[in-house]
């Protein structure tokens, strides 16, 4: 077959795009702004909320990501909750608890008269059944940190499999509403850890009926995708994967019943697309507001709510690379950085500069550490002393990612880069895609200089920050500091939180003297809501049950 083009006519003014306008103009997307009809409760309606991704699973024990925990917080409850707006433990399904002197056992008094959403009783038997279920997770995919991350990182082992040195020993029923959990070694963070959604109480009956059997992936069982059953204020309705999760009010909820009839959780990946969706009325609220969208939303009359920051962004330094092992060079870098300017350029309003590697709401925080206030002259001096006037360092940062602690990595990189160049350090930028190239480079190898990374805390525990960063020798930091490693191991073993706190404060001082990296800030994660949304209480650890939220 042949066909031949013809001679081209003269170029004329171009306006054929007009045709597109006509087509698109036909479609006016006025949608019904309102909520489902016929609410039976005080308020009624549907609350539509956007997160950044679809959950991986609805069985929170096999999840560790915020998007899986979002519906889990509505469907499930744990023995321990948090005080609204803080990361501190508070009674929930357990009304009180008592830890023994040696820290090896804790007795919980349970709330009575609570029922799971399938009508079965929540009682001591059910509670212990849950502990035993976690401990007896069969070897295989379920025992990887990809799935039972929190159990592995806190309780270390299972009944069977490769990881056997479990911190958990047993759970005994001491009556209808009383259980005692025994541990094999003291664990000061035990009660606080139970506030994690992973350790929610789930209905034994439902799991026996729908749960995974044999070698099947437990996070994708019938139970975990279509029948999650807890005691929370909302009941699972449906999950249209990749599109939305629908939950309805739990009419038999033991606490304050939900005000809205229904909630829908939808995934929208781009922060700007979430903002667009809120602006045109598709959703009532969303999480992880892009810093650049805040003023746009506020100007349009939308509400912005800030979560208390429970994260830390730092500039990591790889001491395996010379001369970064020289403390004077690291100090010079610290003095060269104007944290306020970096925050202005790349983080939401209200973000405070960080003094150390934990945010100020964590127990072991102390304002009494060595600070490195912005002083470029001093930075130049220190570089001269270290004989590193002509220093060139690789500066690593990730692309295609936003994290709560890192809302805009490219801008943060650019701001810090300018400041480093101002004191005469030559910066060689090195960008990598977040997954998995960037993490591979930083944590999996030695070829990196200084880098941006951070952490979002899970619950109020200093080890959850410092232990993760500096608990042992790692590729990320490239230093060997046995004194620090030992101090952290020892602190972790102290049975009581009140004894632990001063020890951690000391360690924080020690870390800031050693200066393995430069803590930059704890960016404030923001939520945005339609003006009609009331009653949403932001929590630093995202423990945000929506039973008090109303949309009218």
């Amino acid at each position: 077959m042949t066909y031949r083009s013809l001679r081209y006519p003269r170029l004329t003014a171009v306006a054929a795009v007009a045709a597109l306008v006509v087509v698109a103009g036909c479609a006016d997307s006025k949608r019904d702004t309102g909520s489902g009809s016929g609410g039976t409760g005080a308020s009624g309606g549907t609350f539509v909320f956007a997160g950044s991704a679809d959950p991986v699973t609805l069985d929170p024990f096999f999840a560790s990501d915020g998007e899986s925990f979002r519906p889990a917080r509505q469907i499930f409850e744990g023995l321990v909750g948090t005080k609204p707006g803080t990361a501190d433990p508070a009674p929930l399904l357990a009304t009180s608890w008592q830890t023994a002197q040696d820290g090896l056992s804790t007795t919980f008094e349970l709330q009575s008269g609570v029922k799971f959403q399938d009508g079965t009783d929540f009682n001591a038997d059910a509670a212990c059944w849950n502990f035993d279920r976690w401990y007896n997770t069969p070897p295989g995919i379920g025992q990887t940190e990809d799935q039972s991350y929190y159990w592995i990182s806190l309780f270390k082992g299972f009944a069977k499999g490769d990881l056997t040195d479990s911190v958990y020993k047993s759970c005994t029923v001491d009556g209808d509403n009383k259980i005692t959990v025994a541990l094999t070694q003291p664990f000061a963070g035990f009660v606080a850890a139970l506030s994690l959604p992973s350790f929610s109480m789930q209905s034994p009956t439902a799991i026996k009926k729908w749960g995974a059997t044999g070698q099947d992936d437990p996070s994708q069982s019938e139970y975990a995708t279509a029948h999650p059953t807890g005691t929370g204020p909302f009941v699972f309705q449906s999950w249209d994967k990749g599109n939305q999760i629908t939950l309805t009010r739990n009419e038999n909820y033991w606490g304050e019943k939900a005000l809205v009839d229904e909630v829908r959780i939808v995934p929208i990946a781009e922060p700007k697309a979430r903002a667009d969706a809120l602006l045109n009325g598709e959703i009532d609220g969303f999480d992880l507001v892009g810093p650049a969208d805040i003023s746009r939303l506020q100007d349009a009359g939308f509400q912005i709510a800030n979560r208390p920051a429970f994260n830390i962004l730092y500039l990591g330094i790889n001491q395996a690379v010379k001369p970064l092992d020289d403390i004077r060079v690291r100090q010079a870098i610290a003095y060269a950085i104007d944290k306020e300017a970096v925050i202005n350029a790349s983080m939401p309003e209200g973000t405070k500069p960080a003094l150390e590697f934990v945010p100020d709401s964590v127990n072991g925080y102390t304002p009494d550490v060595k600070t490195y206030d912005y002083d470029p002259a001093k930075a130049k001096d220190l570089l001269a002393q270290a004989g590193a006037q002509n220093l060139t360092i690789q500066f690593n940062y990730p692309t295609d990612v936003t994290r709560p602690y890192m809302p805009s990595p490219g801008d943060t990189f650019n701001a810090i880069r300018s400041e480093l160049e101002a004191v005469g350090i030559n910066v060689k930028p090195q960008a990598d895609r977040w997954d998995p190239d960037y993490l591979d480079r930083i944590q999996g190898g030695k070829d990196h200089g200084i880098h941006l990374l951070g952490w979002t805390g899970d619950y109020n525990d200093t080890d959850n920050f410092l232990g993760v960063f500096f608990g042992r020798k790692s590729n990320e930091w490239g230093f060997e500091n046995q004194k620090l490693f030992d101090a952290l191991t020892k602190a972790r073993g102290i049975p009581v939180v009140s004894d632990q706190t001063p020890v951690y404060q000391k360690i924080n001082q020690q870390v800031m003297d050693f200066l393995p990296g430069i803590p930059i800030a704890s960016p404030v994660p923001s939520l945005a809501f339609d003006p009609k949304v009331k009653g949403y209480v932001p929590s630093p650890v995202q423990d945000e049950p929506w039973n008090l939220v109303s949309v009218q």
Partner: protein, 307 residues
């Protein structure tokens, strides 16, 4: 993303009658080209683009990627046009106009190098397929078909994953996407012409196969190849930007690269749409230049299109 091999060019390359016309064809083509206003507009655009790229340091008022006003750019505002900054600042605090000018340089270098690489590899494969023998032909063309069936974007992503995020991997990735196009063009051309009278004549005169290929067939494929390369340059310029857009380009976020500038502008769109509009127009206009020139050249080479 990749435009397929142009069927007209493929025909042209494979058509012995047209190739036979020899030098007179070239002269006629050149005459037609000079008279075609489309060609002139295209050539002017290309010329302007090349001049801006080559003389970027003289044209741009500030050095490349200076980010010297980084402190004036905040999350909510990017200074627009003002004294000293013709188009205002870019998102990272460099002069937007200077960045655009240096961006031309970046696009030209990556576009030309990648097209040249793609042409070289594609021509070798094509000659191998068309010039050696039946079995080689089948084997080579299977490889080419495989290259076509894997989405070019995935190919590019893997090249970048292996070689790291820098401009060289971008060049190689784009070149890789062009290889099958050139390979098919040259193979078609070889096969088509091997049946032509003058090749038959040359063979009967006892000329060696290699001599025939290099001395007759190759020069006659030159026209369509040049045209295809010109058209591919337009595609390459767009693809550089596309790869940057997907976060696979240069390592420096503030670099003067049009695709990068577009990405960086995305979340500032409401406050500063100019950040996206200028680089977008720059990409479109330079691609337009090469497309017009290529189209006009193709018409000039294809006398049957004349009426």
């Amino acid at each position: 993303m990749t435009l397929p091999l142009d069927p007209v060019l493929a025909d042209l390359a494979a058509d012995p009658d047209e190739a036979e016309a020899g030098t007179s064809l070239w002269r006629a083509a050149w005459r037609r080209l000079r008279r075609n206003p489309v060609a002139i507009i295209g050539a002017l655009l290309v010329l302007a683009f090349v001049l801006v790229a080559v003389f970027a340091p003289a044209i741009a008022p500030y050095p490349e990627n200076s980010h010297q006003w980084a402190d004036e750019v905040t999350l909510t505002s990017v200074p627009g046009p003002r004294d000293g900054n013709l188009l205002g600042l870019d998102r990272y605090g460099s002069d937007l106009f200077s960045q655009l000018v240096y961006g031309a340089r970046q696009s030209l270098v990556v576009g030309v190098v990648s097209t040249a690489l793609g042409l070289l590899a594609g021509a070798l494969l094509g000659l191998l397929a068309g010039g050696v023998g039946r079995k080689t032909d089948t084997a080579v063309m299977r490889v080419v078909d495989l290259m076509l069936s894997v989405p070019s974007l995935l190919l590019a992503v893997s090249v970048v994953a292996v070689l790291g995020q820098n401009r060289y991997s971008v060049m190689i990735a784009i070149a890789a996407a062009q290889v099958p196009i050139f390979a098919r063009l040259l193979r078609g051309s070889m096969l088509g012409q091997s049946k032509s009278d003058y090749v038959l004549a040359a063979t009967s005169l006892g000329l060696r196969r290699r001599t025939i290929v290099l001395g007759h067939v190759l020069p006659n494929s030159l026209g369509p190849t040049i045209v295809q390369a010109t058209l591919n340059l337009a595609t390459a310029i767009i693809e550089v930007a596309a790869l940057s857009f997907l976060g696979l380009g240069e390592a420096d976020p503030a670099v003067a690269e049009w695709g990068r500038m577009l990405v960086a502008a995305q979340d500032r769109f409401n406050e500063a749409p100019q950040l996206a509009l200028w680089p977008g127009f720059a990409i479109a206009v330079s691609a337009l230049g090469f497309t017009l020139l290529g189209e006009a050249m193709r018409e000039a080479l294809d006398p049957k299109g004349q009426r």
